[in-house]
């Protein structure tokens, strides 16, 4: 049964046909798992290729008014170096508020055929407010075109490239964090070498009209299984990647969240992004808390909201923002925020679960090695 208030993606019928167990997520009726189950879906993605419907995410193109550059405009709202993006290059960045809090994290890509525009993919739960914020803040410089008519698929895993090449010849030559705009049966596909599982893979933006057939064509391949939100969450957690609204939010800054890489030198030198005062101070003095990864010593699962304590349980030093069983690790893992004094990998900590302090250790992230494709044709060395 579908709640009347919930939206559906254009692949909703396919999810139901495949036996997807539907749950509400970010206002959409989405598959949390298929009959294979979260654990098997997770392992399938790490071993072969998983197909994800991420059409609930927001897609848009930002175009400059007149002769300007949309990237220059968008830099006013983010700490990223976007103006330097070459056609086909993709970057991870964030919308920040005046306190340096993260309004959303998202991907920007420079279109191949328009070096003054940007193609954006933002989180489902934030898309309305992100687009309103961008459109209103940059009203004098740029126009935002939201792509309501496009589906977004993610094909992730070590077999993703060989599978996609059966439909899109030579797509395997695409470099990591690079994108191509392609003509496919008269329609435009936007294919990027990216994803959020820690595996090699692609995100494919395509018009609604061909989406169902395209997804079925990929699913016909023996290496491909449809994967639900449950495994998407455990895959990104193992990969040490943040989930917006949990591991990062308006209450956290990029420095606290360990996302310093998204504030390049050129932007630090200019210090002209929202919240720069707070963020520059945290960069020089260190933040009061930092995002950490941990592994419980036993099989205890410490879920979101669990208090992190000193190893003797005497003092609360932080809290868990994501935690669960990690199928490829074969045990529980988690991430959260901690007093920086306890953030060193190897530090013994406690997790307050059901009234008892359970032993755990701070560990480096990711919990499983990233398996991104290394070649990047636009770079040398």
């Amino acid at each position: 049964m579908t709640d009347d208030c919930l939206k559906t993606t254009p692949l909703h019928a396919l999810h139901k046909e495949l036996g997807g167990k539907m749950v509400p997520f970010a206002g959409y009726d989405m598959p949390v798992q298929y009959p294979m189950g979260i654990m098997a879906e997770h392992l399938h993605t790490r071993e072969k290729a998983g197909l994800f419907d991420v059409s609930h995410m927001g897609q848009a193109t930002l175009k400059p008014k007149g002769a300007g550059d949309a990237a220059q405009a968008l830099e006013k709202l983010t700490p990223g170096a976007l103006e330097s993006l070459k056609p086909g290059a993709m970057r991870y960045t964030m919308l920040l508020n005046e306190r340096g809090g993260i309004l959303d994290d998202f991907m920007v890509t420079r279109p191949i055929d328009d070096d003054k525009a940007l193609y954006l993919v933002v989180n489902a739960g934030c898309k309305e407010q992100d687009f309103a914020h961008i459109a209103a803040s940059l009203a004098d410089e740029a126009d935002l075109y939201v792509h309501e008519d496009r589906v977004l698929l993610a094909l992730q895993g070590p077999k993703a490239a060989s599978v996609l090449e059966t439909v899109i010849p030579n797509i395997g030559t695409l470099g990591f964090m690079q994108a191509r705009w392609l003509d496919h049966d008269g329609e435009t596909l936007i294919i990027s070498r990216a994803g959020y599982t820690g595996e090699d893979g692609f995100e494919i933006s395509l018009p609604v009209s061909i989406a169902d057939a395209f997804a079925r064509r990929l699913l016909d391949h023996e290496d491909v299984a449809m994967i639900g939100l449950g495994a998407r969450d455990s895959l990104r957690l193992e990969a040490g990647l943040c989930l917006y609204g949990h591991d990062i939010s308006v209450e956290t800054t990029p420095v606290e969240a360990g996302l310093r890489f998204a504030i390049p030198k050129s932007r630090r030198a200019r210090a002209d992004f929202p919240g720069a005062k707070t963020i520059m101070a945290q960069l020089s003095d260190g933040p009061d808390r930092v995002r950490v990864g941990f592994r419980p010593v036993d099989r205890t699962i410490a879920r979101e909201g669990t208090k992190i304590t000193t190893s003797d349980g005497e003092k609360v030093i932080g809290h868990v923002t994501s935690g669960g069983f990690a199928p490829s690790v074969g045990g529980p893992v988690g991430m959260g925020y901690s007093d920086p004094a306890f953030a060193e990998p190897g530090t013994a900590i406690g997790l307050l679960v059901r009234g008892k302090v359970r032993p755990a250790r701070i560990t480096t992230m990711p919990f499983v090695p990233h398996n991104y494709v290394r070649k990047s044709p636009t770079k040398t060395g």
Partner: protein, 125 residues
Amino acid sequence: MTRTYYSEDHEWITVNEDEGTVGITEYAQSQLGDVVFVELPEVGAVLSKGDDAAVVESVKAASELYAPVTGEVTAVNHSVVEEPSLVNTAPMDDGWFFTLKLTDPSELDEMMDEEAYEAYVKDLG
């Protein structure tokens, strides 16, 4: 002679005289999905009917197992702690949780027999 009783919370208890073995049903394990963690009560713990007795965590969420009747815990199944997937593969036998010495066997009268439980699950859709 042993008889098995079922609760509305999807626990089962198989009783032989005043000793009962407790676990979760096939329906419960199918709803939970892959079980990855089990925490059991201590031997000797005295549980009242409805008390939190054990914790079952799947990849999706944590759930409590409630004591279906009042009694004292006499043994626990360490195998499900070591290998939580037993709860998925054999919920009605090797995936048992603990045994109880029943304080008041008349509490069993409020539980369902297999036929009634099957009808109850069917109604849940």
